[in-house]
């Protein structure tokens, strides 16, 4: 839709220049030729991404789809409910079966927020007719993107995912409550971030379908890929996290790095289905 508007706008502009009566405006015609050239070049580039792939993040606890403010039990028998759950996924792209095939990986980030279902689904521009077998993305904001000053969109600090006194984005924010938490009002809060030195919480993730399926996207036949997350592994990961012992993590450091390692273990694989 936007593209159509743009095309119309350029056509309109060219039309105006064409109809300009004064011979003095000959030079502008040269300018408009270059505009046409740019537009043609632009449309060639566009051709590369001629279809879309739908990606849906879906979180489960103990095999049950996650709902906020609902009681669950973690693998250590601790009951808990999650009130807020967000994380950054960026540079999302499909993985090609042919390793030699290279394409530009988008540089932007998505804030996946489970209180807003629209944000858990991403429409990714892709090239039709190529065989893919997985999805790759970056969990968290890398150091280059942490140092760009005031940003917008998913990285707008008004999203509440930015530490002000120790500049940096919170890559994962999980908040909730549990009778096992020793904190006031039994809350637990994991604000996981950090990109400096040994406390990097940013991970590159490649996921393949659970049964090694590969897939091709055509212009007509669209595909939906579900990225499953099993939140049990957030607690029962390489570093066991008992809410009773670790009810909070609020700053970059060794603990944040360990929790981020648990977190990437929650991505269990892809489920591929035709997208109606």
């Amino acid at each position: 839709m936007q593209e159509k508007k743009l095309t119309a706008l350029i056509k309109g502009t060219l039309f105006i220049i064409w109809k300009m009566p004064s011979p003095m405006l000959q030079r502008l015609k040269g300018f408009s030729y270059s505009l046409i050239l740019l537009f043609v070049l632009g449309s060639f580039q566009k051709k590369e991404m001629d279809s879309t792939l739908s990606i849906q993040f879906r979180a489960y606890v103990h095999g049950v789809p996650l709902e906020l403010n609902k009681k669950y039990q973690n693998p250590f028998g601790e009951t808990f409910e999650i009130t807020r759950f967000r994380f950054y996924a960026g540079k999302l792209a499909p993985v090609y079966t042919n390793a030699n095939f290279k394409s530009k990986i988008p540089s932007h980030y998505h804030l996946i927020d489970f209180s807003d279902s629209a944000t858990t689904r991403i429409e990714l521009p892709v090239t039709a007719g190529i065989i893919y077998n997985g999805i790759q993305f970056q969990m968290g904001i890398d150091s280059a993107d942490q140092n760009r000053g005031a940003q917008s969109g998913a990285l707008d600090p008004a999203k509440g995912m930015f530490w002000t006194w120790n500049s940096g984005y919170i890559n994962i924010k999980m908040e909730g409550n549990s009778p096992f938490s020793t904190q006031p009002a039994h809350i637990f809060e994991y604000h996981i971030g950090g990109y400096r030195n040994n406390y990097n919480t940013v991970w590159q993730i490649k996921l393949y379908s659970t049964n090694d399926q590969s897939f091709m996207i055509s212009k007509e036949k669209k595909i939906l890929i579900e990225i499953g997350m099993d939140l049990d592994y957030l607690f029962d990961g390489p570093t066991p996290i008992h809410i009773r012992e670790i009810p909070s993590c609020m700053k970059p450091g060794e603990l944040a790095r360990k929790i981020s390692e648990n977190f990437i273990g929650t991505f269990t694989g892809l489920t591929i289905s035709p997208n109606p």
Partner: protein, 345 residues
Amino acid sequence: MKSLAAITFIGFFCVIWTNIPFPFPVPEGFPSPIYKFQNNPRTREGFELGRKLFYDGLLSKDGNFPCSSCHQQFAAFATYEHRLSHGFNDQFSFRNAPGLFNLAWKKELDWDGGINHIEVQPLAPLLDPHEMAEDLNHVISKMKKDKTYPVLFNRVFGSPGISSQRILKALAQFTASLVSADSRYDKMKRGEVHFNQYELKGYEIFQQKCSRCHQEPLFTDFSYRNTGLEVDSTLKDFGRMRITGRKEDSIKFQVPSLRNVFLTYPYAHDGRFVTISEVLEHYNSGVVQGPTLDSGLRKGISISSDDRFYLIYFLETLTDSSFIKNPLYADPAMGVRNEAPAHLH
């Protein structure tokens, strides 16, 4: 469609015409700045919007704490005569407010260097419940209801809309423009004035005893150092360690610039020293030993009372009176103040 295109063209030229480029002058002898207004081209309108924001209480929860409440021009944008600054609901800030000048040369900001970019710096005081105690979305909604802000943002950024990014970029246009390079010292360097014999002697002593960390021309090397200050038991401030989490960084703070040092008292990260003499005496006799103490301070710095006499003469030459009286940096609604106003809290 024709008219839409025409409007686009006219709009495009209007942006070019109204936003006058505003070149950033790098003072003679200064290194190239870190912040070069990349992705935030400096314009007179952008600078003026940033200046208005800096002086506007609307950015604080109760309206009483604009940036300028703790960063006062007559004190080289530090808080005049306050160990710690005052914020929302009669609370104190965590640290002494530093003077704001030559910020475009800083890679990392704040006493512990925790802030990685000048554009995101204002977020710290803005959202701190002890300082301005605000919320970004609330500030934006207040500005949208204001009569002038929507017009000003539209003019500066070429399209309507107020966002945190635009607020921060406009503020950076102002704060990064605060350049102090016209002190008596600078005039001496440029050959416009000559130091008297006291100042000369003080300069000599300074170069021998102080300039290892307070390097010219910015009078800091921007490093983090433990200068042998005892940790205050109520503040429990371990400086740089809070940022890096490394034991080696315990009680280290960024070396502050000595420019305008006569105006920015009290001194040190918690404002524990009221006078320059006290600071000099600390180096002479008060350095507390510790594992992270700066290697050059193991034996302190011997500063005799004669040295102190001359050093103070020299340090006074670092006061930039044209900076603190520059109407360009003053409150657009009030003009330049020459001294602390009577109602100052």
